[in-house]
Protein backbone atom coordinates (compact mmCIF):
# COMPACT_ATOMS: atom_id res chain seq x y z
CA UNK A 1 0.00 0.00 0.00
CA UNK A 2 1.22 3.47 -0.80
CA UNK A 3 1.70 6.17 1.81
CA UNK A 4 -0.15 9.46 1.85
CA UNK A 5 1.50 12.50 3.38
CA UNK A 6 0.45 13.71 6.82
CA UNK A 7 -0.72 17.09 5.52
CA UNK A 8 -2.86 15.49 2.83
CA UNK A 9 -4.34 13.09 5.36
CA UNK A 10 -5.35 16.01 7.57
CA UNK A 11 -6.86 17.87 4.68
CA UNK A 12 -8.76 14.74 3.68
CA UNK A 13 -10.10 14.45 7.20
CA UNK A 14 -11.57 17.91 7.35
CA UNK A 15 -12.88 17.88 3.78
CA UNK A 16 -14.58 14.61 4.62
CA UNK A 17 -16.01 16.05 7.81
CA UNK A 18 -17.44 19.04 5.90
CA UNK A 19 -19.21 16.71 3.49
CA UNK A 20 -20.55 14.66 6.42
CA UNK A 21 -21.77 17.85 8.04
CA UNK A 22 -23.43 19.00 4.83
CA UNK A 23 -25.57 15.86 4.67
CA UNK A 24 -26.24 15.93 8.42
CA UNK A 25 -27.51 19.51 8.37
CA UNK A 26 -29.50 19.28 5.16
CA UNK A 27 -32.76 17.80 6.54
CA UNK A 28 -33.02 20.55 9.15
CA UNK A 29 -32.03 23.31 6.75
CA UNK A 30 -29.19 24.38 9.03
CA UNK A 31 -26.78 25.59 6.39
CA UNK A 32 -25.73 28.47 8.64
CA UNK A 33 -23.82 25.96 10.75
CA UNK A 34 -21.45 25.08 7.92
CA UNK A 35 -18.02 26.77 7.85
CA UNK A 36 -18.93 29.02 4.96
CA UNK A 37 -16.74 31.73 3.46
CA UNK A 38 -18.32 35.12 2.83
CA UNK A 39 -19.46 35.26 -0.78
CA UNK A 40 -19.80 31.49 -1.13
CA UNK A 41 -21.12 30.49 -4.54
CA UNK A 42 -23.90 27.91 -4.45
CA UNK A 43 -25.58 26.13 -7.33
CA UNK A 44 -28.20 23.43 -7.69
CA UNK A 45 -28.60 21.69 -11.03
CA UNK A 46 -26.71 24.42 -12.80
CA UNK A 47 -28.70 27.32 -11.35
CA UNK A 48 -27.10 29.86 -9.03
CA UNK A 49 -29.28 29.97 -5.91
CA UNK A 50 -29.03 31.44 -2.44
CA UNK A 51 -27.71 28.92 0.08
CA UNK A 52 -30.87 27.68 1.80
CA UNK A 53 -32.95 27.51 -1.34
CA UNK A 54 -33.70 24.48 -3.47
CA UNK A 55 -33.10 21.16 -1.74
CA UNK A 56 -32.01 22.95 1.44
CA UNK A 57 -35.64 24.03 1.87
CA UNK A 58 -37.27 20.72 0.99
CA UNK A 59 -35.00 17.87 2.15
CA UNK A 60 -36.53 15.68 4.84
CA UNK A 61 -33.80 13.10 5.21
CA UNK A 62 -30.24 12.23 4.25
CA UNK A 63 -28.29 8.99 4.47
CA UNK A 64 -25.53 8.80 7.08
CA UNK A 65 -23.14 7.23 4.63
CA UNK A 66 -22.60 8.00 0.97
CA UNK A 67 -22.01 5.80 -2.02
CA UNK A 68 -19.17 7.63 -3.72
CA UNK A 69 -16.54 10.10 -2.56
CA UNK A 70 -13.56 11.59 -4.38
CA UNK A 71 -11.19 13.72 -2.37
CA UNK A 72 -8.74 15.96 -4.16
CA UNK A 73 -6.56 17.20 -1.33
CA UNK A 74 -4.19 19.43 -3.29
CA UNK A 75 -7.17 21.20 -4.91
CA UNK A 76 -8.99 21.47 -1.56
CA UNK A 77 -12.05 19.81 -3.01
CA UNK A 78 -14.34 16.92 -2.28
CA UNK A 79 -17.14 15.48 -4.39
CA UNK A 80 -19.55 12.94 -3.00
CA UNK A 81 -23.01 11.58 -3.54
CA UNK A 82 -25.61 9.74 -1.54
CA UNK A 83 -29.30 9.31 -0.95
CA UNK A 84 -31.62 12.00 0.38
CA UNK A 85 -35.37 12.29 0.71
CA UNK A 86 -37.55 15.20 -0.26
CA UNK A 87 -41.05 15.05 1.23
CA UNK A 88 -40.57 11.31 1.47
CA UNK A 89 -39.41 10.89 -2.14
CA UNK A 90 -36.01 9.40 -2.88
CA UNK A 91 -33.45 11.58 -4.65
CA UNK A 92 -29.69 11.39 -5.14
CA UNK A 93 -27.65 14.36 -4.01
CA UNK A 94 -24.20 15.03 -5.41
CA UNK A 95 -22.18 17.73 -3.62
CA UNK A 96 -18.86 19.29 -4.53
CA UNK A 97 -17.24 21.46 -1.90
CA UNK A 98 -14.18 23.61 -2.36
CA UNK A 99 -12.43 25.15 0.61
CA UNK A 100 -10.26 28.25 0.60
CA UNK A 101 -6.88 28.71 2.27
CA UNK A 102 -8.58 29.47 5.57
CA UNK A 103 -10.48 26.22 5.53
CA UNK A 104 -13.83 27.80 4.72
CA UNK A 105 -16.16 26.50 2.01
CA UNK A 106 -16.22 29.00 -0.84
CA UNK A 107 -17.82 26.93 -3.62
CA UNK A 108 -20.74 24.50 -3.43
CA UNK A 109 -22.04 22.78 -6.52
CA UNK A 110 -24.91 20.38 -6.09
CA UNK A 111 -26.57 17.98 -8.46
CA UNK A 112 -29.95 16.61 -7.41
CA UNK A 113 -31.23 13.63 -9.36
CA UNK A 114 -34.96 13.44 -8.81
CA UNK A 115 -37.23 10.71 -10.09
CA UNK A 116 -40.65 11.30 -11.66
CA UNK A 117 -39.69 14.95 -11.49
CA UNK A 118 -41.86 17.48 -13.35
CA UNK A 119 -38.73 19.44 -14.21
CA UNK A 120 -37.16 16.44 -15.91
CA UNK A 121 -37.35 16.02 -19.65
CA UNK A 122 -37.73 12.31 -19.00
CA UNK A 123 -41.36 11.54 -18.29
CA UNK A 124 -40.93 7.96 -17.12
CA UNK A 125 -39.61 6.67 -13.85
CA UNK A 126 -35.83 6.74 -14.01
CA UNK A 127 -33.69 3.82 -12.92
CA UNK A 128 -32.67 3.98 -9.28
CA UNK A 129 -31.33 1.51 -6.75
CA UNK A 130 -31.55 3.51 -3.56
CA UNK A 131 -30.38 0.59 -1.46
CA UNK A 132 -27.13 0.30 -3.34
CA UNK A 133 -26.44 4.01 -2.95
CA UNK A 134 -27.23 4.01 0.76
CA UNK A 135 -23.72 2.97 1.76
CA UNK A 136 -20.15 3.25 0.47
CA UNK A 137 -19.39 1.39 -2.74
CA UNK A 138 -17.22 -1.61 -1.79
CA UNK A 139 -13.60 -1.25 -2.84
CA UNK A 140 -13.95 2.20 -4.35
CA UNK A 141 -11.84 3.90 -1.70
CA UNK A 142 -9.18 1.17 -1.52
CA UNK A 143 -5.64 2.47 -1.96
CA UNK A 144 -3.98 1.47 -5.22
CA UNK A 145 -0.52 -0.14 -5.04
CA UNK A 146 2.26 2.28 -5.96
CA UNK A 147 3.17 0.30 -9.06
CA UNK A 148 -0.38 0.47 -10.45
CA UNK A 149 -1.08 4.02 -9.36
CA UNK A 150 -1.95 6.52 -12.12
CA UNK A 151 -0.83 10.15 -12.02
CA UNK A 152 -3.43 12.92 -11.92
CA UNK A 153 -2.82 13.52 -15.64
CA UNK A 154 -3.29 9.83 -16.44
CA UNK A 155 -6.53 9.82 -14.48
CA UNK A 156 -7.90 12.71 -16.53
CA UNK A 157 -6.81 11.02 -19.74
CA UNK A 158 -8.62 7.83 -18.76
CA UNK A 159 -11.86 9.71 -17.99
CA UNK A 160 -11.61 11.67 -21.24
CA UNK A 161 -10.79 8.51 -23.17
CA UNK A 162 -14.00 6.93 -21.90
CA UNK A 163 -16.10 9.97 -22.78
CA UNK A 164 -14.45 10.36 -26.19
CA UNK A 165 -14.96 6.68 -26.97
CA UNK A 166 -18.58 6.50 -25.84
CA UNK A 167 -19.58 9.64 -27.74
CA UNK A 168 -17.64 8.85 -30.94
CA UNK A 169 -18.14 5.10 -31.02
CA UNK A 170 -14.39 4.50 -31.14
CA UNK A 171 -13.88 1.76 -28.64
CA UNK A 172 -10.11 1.95 -28.99
CA UNK A 173 -10.13 5.25 -27.09
CA UNK A 174 -11.47 3.62 -23.93
CA UNK A 175 -8.87 2.14 -21.56
CA UNK A 176 -11.27 -0.18 -19.80
CA UNK A 177 -10.95 -3.65 -18.29
CA UNK A 178 -13.30 -6.28 -19.69
CA UNK A 179 -14.80 -6.92 -16.26
CA UNK A 180 -15.36 -3.23 -15.40
CA UNK A 181 -18.79 -2.69 -13.85
CA UNK A 182 -20.66 0.56 -14.48
CA UNK A 183 -23.24 1.69 -11.94
CA UNK A 184 -25.61 4.48 -12.98
CA UNK A 185 -27.93 5.91 -10.32
CA UNK A 186 -27.21 2.77 -8.32
CA UNK A 187 -28.10 0.38 -11.14
CA UNK A 188 -25.52 -1.76 -12.92
CA UNK A 189 -25.91 -1.12 -16.66
CA UNK A 190 -23.26 -3.48 -18.05
CA UNK A 191 -22.36 -7.17 -17.53
CA UNK A 192 -25.78 -8.05 -16.19
CA UNK A 193 -26.20 -11.78 -16.09
CA UNK A 194 -29.98 -11.38 -16.32
CA UNK A 195 -29.78 -9.21 -19.46
CA UNK A 196 -32.38 -6.77 -18.27
CA UNK A 197 -32.65 -3.63 -16.20
CA UNK A 198 -35.06 -3.71 -13.24
CA UNK A 199 -38.59 -3.03 -14.40
CA UNK A 200 -37.63 -2.90 -18.06
CA UNK A 201 -38.01 -5.23 -21.01
CA UNK A 202 -35.13 -7.65 -21.61
CA UNK A 203 -32.24 -5.91 -23.36
CA UNK A 204 -29.27 -8.02 -24.46
CA UNK A 205 -27.07 -4.93 -24.45
CA UNK A 206 -27.12 -4.89 -20.65
CA UNK A 207 -25.27 -8.21 -20.63
CA UNK A 208 -22.35 -6.69 -22.57
CA UNK A 209 -19.31 -5.03 -21.07
CA UNK A 210 -18.44 -1.34 -21.43
CA UNK A 211 -16.29 -1.78 -24.53
CA UNK A 212 -18.60 -4.26 -26.18
CA UNK A 213 -21.57 -1.93 -25.83
CA UNK A 214 -19.66 0.76 -27.69
CA UNK A 215 -18.41 -1.72 -30.29
CA UNK A 216 -21.95 -2.94 -30.94
CA UNK A 217 -23.34 0.57 -31.41
CA UNK A 218 -25.41 0.57 -28.23
CA UNK A 219 -24.20 4.11 -27.45
CA UNK A 220 -24.70 5.55 -30.95
CA UNK A 221 -27.52 7.82 -29.76
CA UNK A 222 -24.95 9.86 -27.79
CA UNK A 223 -23.86 12.80 -29.95
CA UNK A 224 -21.43 14.39 -27.50
CA UNK A 225 -20.04 14.36 -23.98
CA UNK A 226 -19.57 18.11 -23.71
CA UNK A 227 -18.70 20.84 -21.26
CA UNK A 228 -16.47 18.53 -19.24
CA UNK A 229 -15.15 20.05 -16.10
CA UNK A 230 -14.88 19.81 -12.34
CA UNK A 231 -12.17 17.17 -12.60
CA UNK A 232 -11.18 15.92 -9.17
CA UNK A 233 -8.34 13.43 -8.94
CA UNK A 234 -7.10 11.19 -6.15
CA UNK A 235 -4.11 9.18 -7.47
CA UNK A 236 -3.65 7.25 -4.22
CA UNK A 237 -7.03 5.62 -4.74
CA UNK A 238 -6.93 5.77 -8.53
CA UNK A 239 -10.05 7.93 -8.64
CA UNK A 240 -11.08 10.69 -11.00
CA UNK A 241 -14.38 12.52 -11.21
CA UNK A 242 -15.68 14.61 -14.08
CA UNK A 243 -18.97 16.32 -14.73
CA UNK A 244 -20.32 16.83 -18.25
CA UNK A 245 -23.41 16.53 -20.43
CA UNK A 246 -24.36 13.69 -22.72
CA UNK A 247 -26.23 15.23 -25.66
CA UNK A 248 -28.96 13.03 -27.09
CA UNK A 249 -30.45 14.56 -30.24
CA UNK A 250 -33.36 12.10 -30.11
CA UNK A 251 -35.14 10.45 -33.02
CA UNK A 252 -33.63 12.67 -35.70
CA UNK A 253 -34.90 12.36 -39.25
CA UNK A 254 -33.16 9.64 -41.18
CA UNK A 255 -31.71 8.01 -38.07
CA UNK A 256 -31.43 4.28 -38.63
CA UNK A 257 -30.15 3.23 -35.22
CA UNK A 258 -31.86 2.65 -31.95
CA UNK A 259 -33.02 5.95 -30.43
CA UNK A 260 -34.02 5.47 -26.81
CA UNK A 261 -35.35 9.04 -26.72
CA UNK A 262 -37.81 10.59 -29.18
CA UNK A 263 -37.34 14.22 -28.20
CA UNK A 264 -33.85 15.63 -27.68
CA UNK A 265 -32.38 15.91 -24.19
CA UNK A 266 -29.11 16.60 -22.47
CA UNK A 267 -28.18 14.37 -19.59
CA UNK A 268 -26.02 15.95 -16.94
CA UNK A 269 -23.72 13.44 -15.31
CA UNK A 270 -21.16 13.24 -12.54
CA UNK A 271 -18.99 10.23 -13.30
CA UNK A 272 -16.25 8.63 -11.24
CA UNK A 273 -13.66 6.22 -12.64
CA UNK A 274 -11.37 3.95 -10.63
CA UNK A 275 -8.18 3.36 -12.59
CA UNK A 276 -5.50 0.82 -11.81
CA UNK A 277 -2.64 -0.39 -13.94
CA UNK A 278 -3.68 1.87 -16.81
CA UNK A 279 -7.23 0.51 -17.07
CA UNK A 280 -10.60 1.68 -15.80
CA UNK A 281 -11.77 -0.94 -13.29
CA UNK A 282 -15.01 0.55 -12.00
CA UNK A 283 -17.38 3.35 -13.10
CA UNK A 284 -19.97 5.09 -10.95
CA UNK A 285 -22.27 7.81 -12.27
CA UNK A 286 -25.29 9.86 -11.36
CA UNK A 287 -27.38 11.10 -14.23
CA UNK A 288 -30.52 13.22 -14.79
CA UNK A 289 -32.60 14.43 -17.75
CA UNK A 290 -32.50 18.12 -18.66
CA UNK A 291 -33.47 20.25 -21.68
CA UNK A 292 -31.32 19.80 -24.76
CA UNK A 293 -28.35 22.15 -24.72
CA UNK A 294 -28.45 22.80 -20.94
CA UNK A 295 -25.31 24.23 -19.35
CA UNK A 296 -23.82 23.98 -15.90
CA UNK A 297 -23.36 27.65 -15.15
CA UNK A 298 -25.33 30.85 -15.71
CA UNK A 299 -22.31 32.28 -17.54
CA UNK A 300 -22.47 29.45 -20.04
CA UNK A 301 -26.21 29.78 -20.38
CA UNK A 302 -26.08 33.35 -21.71
Amino acid sequence: MGEVSQELQERRAYLGSYADRYFELLPSGGHQQLPIAPGVVFSENGQRLRLGQGLWATATGAARTRAVTVLDGPAGQIATWGMVTEAGHDAILGVRLKVDDEGLIDEIDTFVVRFNDMASTFSGSGLLDAQRLAGPTPGLLDLVDEGDRPSAAELRRAADGYLDGVSSGEVGLIPVADDCPRIENGVQTVLRADGLLPGRAPNPATAMGVAQQVREGVTRHIAAARDRGMYLTDPSRGLVMVRFFFDHPGAVRGWQGRAPFIGPNSMPAWEVFKVRGGLIRHIEAIIAWFPYGYRWTPEEQR
Binding site: L49, Q53, A251, G263, P291, Q301
Partner: protein, 302 residues
Protein backbone atom coordinates in the same frame (compact mmCIF):
# COMPACT_ATOMS: atom_id res chain seq x y z
CA UNK B 1 -43.12 42.20 -42.44
CA UNK B 2 -43.97 40.61 -45.76
CA UNK B 3 -43.07 36.96 -46.00
CA UNK B 4 -41.66 35.15 -49.01
CA UNK B 5 -45.21 34.20 -49.92
CA UNK B 6 -46.53 37.72 -49.52
CA UNK B 7 -48.31 37.18 -46.21
CA UNK B 8 -47.98 38.95 -42.89
CA UNK B 9 -46.52 38.06 -39.53
CA UNK B 10 -49.12 35.40 -38.75
CA UNK B 11 -48.41 33.69 -42.06
CA UNK B 12 -44.75 33.78 -41.16
CA UNK B 13 -45.52 31.83 -38.00
CA UNK B 14 -47.33 29.23 -40.12
CA UNK B 15 -44.30 29.05 -42.40
CA UNK B 16 -42.13 28.39 -39.35
CA UNK B 17 -44.19 25.34 -38.40
CA UNK B 18 -44.15 24.06 -42.00
CA UNK B 19 -40.38 24.53 -42.29
CA UNK B 20 -39.94 22.77 -38.95
CA UNK B 21 -41.94 19.73 -40.03
CA UNK B 22 -39.79 19.57 -43.15
CA UNK B 23 -36.62 20.03 -41.13
CA UNK B 24 -35.62 22.88 -43.41
CA UNK B 25 -34.82 26.18 -41.68
CA UNK B 26 -33.40 27.38 -45.00
CA UNK B 27 -36.96 28.14 -46.12
CA UNK B 28 -37.20 30.95 -43.61
CA UNK B 29 -35.85 34.49 -44.01
CA UNK B 30 -33.35 34.20 -41.14
CA UNK B 31 -31.03 37.05 -40.20
CA UNK B 32 -27.37 36.08 -40.31
CA UNK B 33 -27.11 36.53 -36.54
CA UNK B 34 -30.50 35.04 -35.64
CA UNK B 35 -30.72 33.99 -32.02
CA UNK B 36 -32.53 30.74 -31.23
CA UNK B 37 -33.56 29.14 -27.97
CA UNK B 38 -35.44 25.95 -27.20
CA UNK B 39 -36.70 25.54 -23.66
CA UNK B 40 -34.42 28.30 -22.46
CA UNK B 41 -31.26 26.91 -24.07
CA UNK B 42 -29.34 28.65 -26.83
CA UNK B 43 -28.69 26.02 -29.45
CA UNK B 44 -27.90 26.07 -33.17
CA UNK B 45 -30.74 26.40 -35.66
CA UNK B 46 -31.33 22.97 -37.13
CA UNK B 47 -30.71 21.12 -33.86
CA UNK B 48 -33.15 20.26 -31.09
CA UNK B 49 -36.72 20.02 -32.30
CA UNK B 50 -35.58 21.02 -35.80
CA UNK B 51 -33.95 17.61 -36.11
CA UNK B 52 -36.81 15.53 -34.70
CA UNK B 53 -40.09 17.20 -35.77
CA UNK B 54 -41.87 15.37 -38.55
CA UNK B 55 -45.31 16.94 -38.61
CA UNK B 56 -47.10 20.14 -37.62
CA UNK B 57 -50.82 20.74 -37.14
CA UNK B 58 -52.53 22.79 -39.86
CA UNK B 59 -53.27 25.68 -37.53
CA UNK B 60 -52.20 27.20 -34.27
CA UNK B 61 -54.41 27.15 -31.16
CA UNK B 62 -53.56 30.73 -30.25
CA UNK B 63 -51.61 33.55 -31.85
CA UNK B 64 -50.79 37.22 -31.37
CA UNK B 65 -48.77 39.66 -33.43
CA UNK B 66 -47.61 43.23 -33.23
CA UNK B 67 -45.74 45.53 -35.57
CA UNK B 68 -43.94 48.73 -34.69
CA UNK B 69 -42.47 51.30 -37.03
CA UNK B 70 -39.30 53.02 -36.01
CA UNK B 71 -36.27 54.74 -37.43
CA UNK B 72 -34.60 51.39 -38.10
CA UNK B 73 -37.53 50.12 -40.15
CA UNK B 74 -40.35 47.80 -39.19
CA UNK B 75 -39.96 45.52 -36.20
CA UNK B 76 -42.46 42.74 -35.76
CA UNK B 77 -43.34 40.20 -33.11
CA UNK B 78 -45.52 37.17 -33.58
CA UNK B 79 -46.08 34.29 -31.20
CA UNK B 80 -48.38 31.35 -30.93
CA UNK B 81 -48.64 27.69 -30.17
CA UNK B 82 -49.85 24.51 -31.75
CA UNK B 83 -49.29 20.78 -31.93
CA UNK B 84 -46.38 19.04 -33.61
CA UNK B 85 -45.12 15.46 -33.80
CA UNK B 86 -41.57 14.30 -33.11
CA UNK B 87 -40.10 11.09 -34.39
CA UNK B 88 -41.66 8.92 -37.04
CA UNK B 89 -45.05 10.45 -37.76
CA UNK B 90 -46.55 7.30 -39.21
CA UNK B 91 -45.65 4.73 -36.59
CA UNK B 92 -45.86 4.20 -32.89
CA UNK B 93 -42.43 5.67 -32.27
CA UNK B 94 -43.66 9.22 -32.80
CA UNK B 95 -44.78 11.47 -29.96
CA UNK B 96 -46.95 14.56 -29.92
CA UNK B 97 -45.79 17.77 -28.31
CA UNK B 98 -47.14 21.27 -27.89
CA UNK B 99 -44.84 23.88 -29.39
CA UNK B 100 -44.83 27.59 -28.65
CA UNK B 101 -42.92 29.81 -31.05
CA UNK B 102 -42.06 33.50 -30.75
CA UNK B 103 -40.49 35.26 -33.71
CA UNK B 104 -39.13 38.75 -33.84
CA UNK B 105 -38.47 40.35 -37.18
CA UNK B 106 -36.20 43.22 -38.00
CA UNK B 107 -36.78 44.57 -41.48
CA UNK B 108 -37.53 41.52 -43.56
CA UNK B 109 -35.53 39.00 -41.56
CA UNK B 110 -36.22 36.90 -38.47
CA UNK B 111 -33.77 38.03 -35.81
CA UNK B 112 -35.09 36.18 -32.74
CA UNK B 113 -36.65 32.74 -32.34
CA UNK B 114 -37.77 31.61 -28.92
CA UNK B 115 -39.47 28.25 -28.52
CA UNK B 116 -40.94 26.25 -25.70
CA UNK B 117 -41.69 22.56 -26.24
CA UNK B 118 -44.19 20.95 -23.90
CA UNK B 119 -43.53 17.24 -24.22
CA UNK B 120 -45.72 15.92 -21.43
CA UNK B 121 -49.46 15.80 -21.80
CA UNK B 122 -51.01 18.10 -19.17
CA UNK B 123 -52.22 17.27 -15.66
CA UNK B 124 -51.36 13.58 -15.84
CA UNK B 125 -53.29 12.93 -19.07
CA UNK B 126 -52.03 10.38 -21.56
CA UNK B 127 -52.64 12.65 -24.56
CA UNK B 128 -52.83 16.34 -25.38
CA UNK B 129 -56.35 17.79 -25.53
CA UNK B 130 -58.01 17.99 -28.96
CA UNK B 131 -58.68 21.67 -28.40
CA UNK B 132 -55.03 22.41 -29.19
CA UNK B 133 -55.57 21.40 -32.83
CA UNK B 134 -58.05 24.22 -33.48
CA UNK B 135 -57.61 28.00 -33.47
CA UNK B 136 -59.22 29.71 -30.50
CA UNK B 137 -62.02 31.75 -32.07
CA UNK B 138 -62.60 33.65 -28.84
CA UNK B 139 -59.01 34.92 -28.79
CA UNK B 140 -59.05 35.91 -32.47
CA UNK B 141 -62.25 37.97 -32.26
CA UNK B 142 -61.86 41.70 -33.02
CA UNK B 143 -63.10 43.96 -30.23
CA UNK B 144 -65.60 46.78 -30.57
CA UNK B 145 -63.66 50.06 -30.55
CA UNK B 146 -65.27 51.06 -27.25
CA UNK B 147 -63.92 47.92 -25.55
CA UNK B 148 -60.32 48.44 -26.61
CA UNK B 149 -57.47 49.69 -24.48
CA UNK B 150 -53.93 50.86 -25.17
CA UNK B 151 -50.94 48.54 -25.05
CA UNK B 152 -50.21 49.94 -21.60
CA UNK B 153 -53.75 49.10 -20.47
CA UNK B 154 -53.29 45.52 -21.63
CA UNK B 155 -49.94 45.17 -19.90
CA UNK B 156 -51.40 46.62 -16.70
CA UNK B 157 -54.26 44.11 -16.69
CA UNK B 158 -51.93 41.16 -17.29
CA UNK B 159 -49.54 42.44 -14.61
CA UNK B 160 -52.43 42.69 -12.18
CA UNK B 161 -53.24 39.05 -12.79
CA UNK B 162 -49.64 37.93 -12.29
CA UNK B 163 -49.27 40.04 -9.15
CA UNK B 164 -52.53 38.70 -7.76
CA UNK B 165 -51.54 35.08 -8.37
CA UNK B 166 -48.06 35.57 -6.94
CA UNK B 167 -49.30 37.42 -3.83
CA UNK B 168 -52.57 35.55 -3.23
CA UNK B 169 -54.51 38.79 -3.65
CA UNK B 170 -57.61 38.42 -5.81
CA UNK B 171 -58.21 42.16 -5.48
CA UNK B 172 -55.27 42.84 -7.77
CA UNK B 173 -56.78 40.83 -10.62
CA UNK B 174 -59.00 42.70 -13.06
CA UNK B 175 -60.76 39.57 -14.31
CA UNK B 176 -64.43 39.20 -15.24
CA UNK B 177 -66.31 36.66 -13.14
CA UNK B 178 -66.90 34.53 -16.24
CA UNK B 179 -63.27 34.69 -17.40
CA UNK B 180 -62.14 31.34 -18.82
CA UNK B 181 -58.59 30.06 -18.42
CA UNK B 182 -57.14 27.33 -20.65
CA UNK B 183 -53.77 25.81 -19.62
CA UNK B 184 -52.00 23.43 -22.00
CA UNK B 185 -55.41 22.87 -23.58
CA UNK B 186 -57.48 22.22 -20.45
CA UNK B 187 -59.96 24.58 -18.82
CA UNK B 188 -58.72 25.16 -15.28
CA UNK B 189 -61.52 27.46 -14.01
CA UNK B 190 -65.33 27.32 -14.15
CA UNK B 191 -65.06 23.65 -14.99
CA UNK B 192 -67.15 22.00 -12.25
CA UNK B 193 -67.27 18.64 -14.01
CA UNK B 194 -63.48 18.62 -14.43
CA UNK B 195 -63.86 17.98 -18.15
CA UNK B 196 -60.63 16.61 -19.58
CA UNK B 197 -58.90 16.03 -16.24
CA UNK B 198 -57.89 12.58 -15.07
CA UNK B 199 -59.48 11.41 -11.83
CA UNK B 200 -56.10 11.43 -10.09
CA UNK B 201 -55.73 15.17 -10.62
CA UNK B 202 -59.26 15.98 -9.51
CA UNK B 203 -59.03 13.88 -6.36
CA UNK B 204 -55.85 15.67 -5.33
CA UNK B 205 -57.88 18.89 -5.07
CA UNK B 206 -55.86 20.46 -7.87
CA UNK B 207 -55.93 24.25 -8.28
CA UNK B 208 -58.20 24.84 -5.33
CA UNK B 209 -61.36 23.91 -7.13
CA UNK B 210 -61.77 23.61 -10.87
CA UNK B 211 -65.37 24.79 -10.58
CA UNK B 212 -64.36 28.21 -9.26
CA UNK B 213 -63.54 31.32 -11.27
CA UNK B 214 -60.12 32.94 -11.59
CA UNK B 215 -60.42 35.24 -8.58
CA UNK B 216 -62.38 32.80 -6.43
CA UNK B 217 -59.58 30.26 -6.82
CA UNK B 218 -57.07 32.81 -5.53
CA UNK B 219 -59.27 33.43 -2.49
CA UNK B 220 -58.94 29.75 -1.55
CA UNK B 221 -55.18 30.42 -1.12
CA UNK B 222 -54.52 27.32 -3.17
CA UNK B 223 -51.76 29.11 -5.08
CA UNK B 224 -49.50 29.87 -2.15
CA UNK B 225 -47.03 27.34 -3.49
CA UNK B 226 -46.17 29.88 -6.22
CA UNK B 227 -43.27 31.81 -4.74
CA UNK B 228 -42.79 34.36 -7.49
CA UNK B 229 -43.66 35.15 -11.08
CA UNK B 230 -40.44 36.59 -12.42
CA UNK B 231 -38.68 37.70 -15.54
CA UNK B 232 -41.91 38.89 -17.14
CA UNK B 233 -41.61 39.90 -20.77
CA UNK B 234 -44.59 41.38 -22.58
CA UNK B 235 -43.57 40.25 -26.02
CA UNK B 236 -46.57 41.14 -28.17
CA UNK B 237 -49.82 43.07 -27.87
CA UNK B 238 -52.72 43.47 -30.30
CA UNK B 239 -55.02 46.28 -29.20
CA UNK B 240 -57.67 45.51 -31.84
CA UNK B 241 -58.18 42.05 -30.37
CA UNK B 242 -57.31 43.06 -26.80
CA UNK B 243 -54.49 40.52 -26.66
CA UNK B 244 -51.22 40.66 -24.76
CA UNK B 245 -48.72 37.84 -24.36
CA UNK B 246 -46.37 37.58 -21.40
CA UNK B 247 -43.51 35.09 -21.16
CA UNK B 248 -42.41 34.49 -17.57
CA UNK B 249 -41.33 31.98 -14.95
CA UNK B 250 -43.45 30.70 -12.09
CA UNK B 251 -41.09 29.68 -9.28
CA UNK B 252 -42.25 26.75 -7.19
CA UNK B 253 -39.99 26.00 -4.21
CA UNK B 254 -41.75 22.65 -3.65
CA UNK B 255 -42.80 21.17 -0.33
CA UNK B 256 -40.84 23.55 1.87
CA UNK B 257 -40.29 22.40 5.47
CA UNK B 258 -42.33 24.41 7.91
CA UNK B 259 -44.36 26.24 5.28
CA UNK B 260 -47.84 27.14 6.42
CA UNK B 261 -49.38 25.66 3.29
CA UNK B 262 -49.15 22.54 1.21
CA UNK B 263 -47.63 22.40 -2.22
CA UNK B 264 -48.89 20.03 -4.89
CA UNK B 265 -45.37 20.21 -6.32
CA UNK B 266 -42.86 18.11 -4.36
CA UNK B 267 -39.47 19.18 -5.69
CA UNK B 268 -38.49 22.74 -6.55
CA UNK B 269 -39.05 23.77 -10.15
CA UNK B 270 -39.50 26.83 -12.30
CA UNK B 271 -42.21 26.76 -14.92
CA UNK B 272 -41.70 28.65 -18.13
CA UNK B 273 -45.17 29.98 -18.89
CA UNK B 274 -46.47 31.82 -21.93
CA UNK B 275 -49.74 33.43 -20.98
CA UNK B 276 -52.05 35.19 -23.43
CA UNK B 277 -54.69 37.53 -22.02
CA UNK B 278 -57.76 38.86 -23.77
CA UNK B 279 -58.81 42.15 -22.23
CA UNK B 280 -62.03 43.99 -23.13
CA UNK B 281 -63.58 46.96 -21.36
CA UNK B 282 -60.72 46.93 -18.86
CA UNK B 283 -61.33 43.37 -17.69
CA UNK B 284 -59.58 40.10 -18.52
CA UNK B 285 -62.13 37.97 -20.37
CA UNK B 286 -60.08 34.98 -21.31
CA UNK B 287 -56.65 33.51 -20.59
CA UNK B 288 -54.87 30.85 -22.61
CA UNK B 289 -51.48 29.60 -21.50
CA UNK B 290 -48.87 26.96 -22.14
CA UNK B 291 -46.00 25.97 -19.91
CA UNK B 292 -43.54 23.32 -18.82
CA UNK B 293 -41.44 22.71 -15.71
CA UNK B 294 -37.68 23.17 -15.64
CA UNK B 295 -34.94 23.18 -13.01
CA UNK B 296 -35.58 25.67 -10.21
CA UNK B 297 -34.12 29.06 -10.99
CA UNK B 298 -33.73 28.51 -14.73
CA UNK B 299 -33.70 31.53 -17.03
CA UNK B 300 -35.27 31.95 -20.44
CA UNK B 301 -32.09 32.90 -22.28
CA UNK B 302 -33.49 36.35 -23.26
Amino acid sequence: MITARGGGLEDLLGEYYAALAAGDPGRLPLAADVRFTENGQRIAIGTGLWATATRAADSRAAMVSEEAYGPGGTAGSVAGWGMITEGAAEDADGADALLGVRLRTTGKAISEIETVVVRRAPFGRATFPERLLEPSAAMARILEPTDRGTREDLVRAASGYLDGVARDDAGLIPAADDCIRIENGLQTVLNPDADGFPATFVSSGGLGGLGLGVRAQIRTLAFRYIEDIRDRRFVAADTARGLVLVCCFFDHPGKVRGAGFDSPIVAPNSMLIWELFKVAGGLIRRIEAIGAAFPYGMRAGW
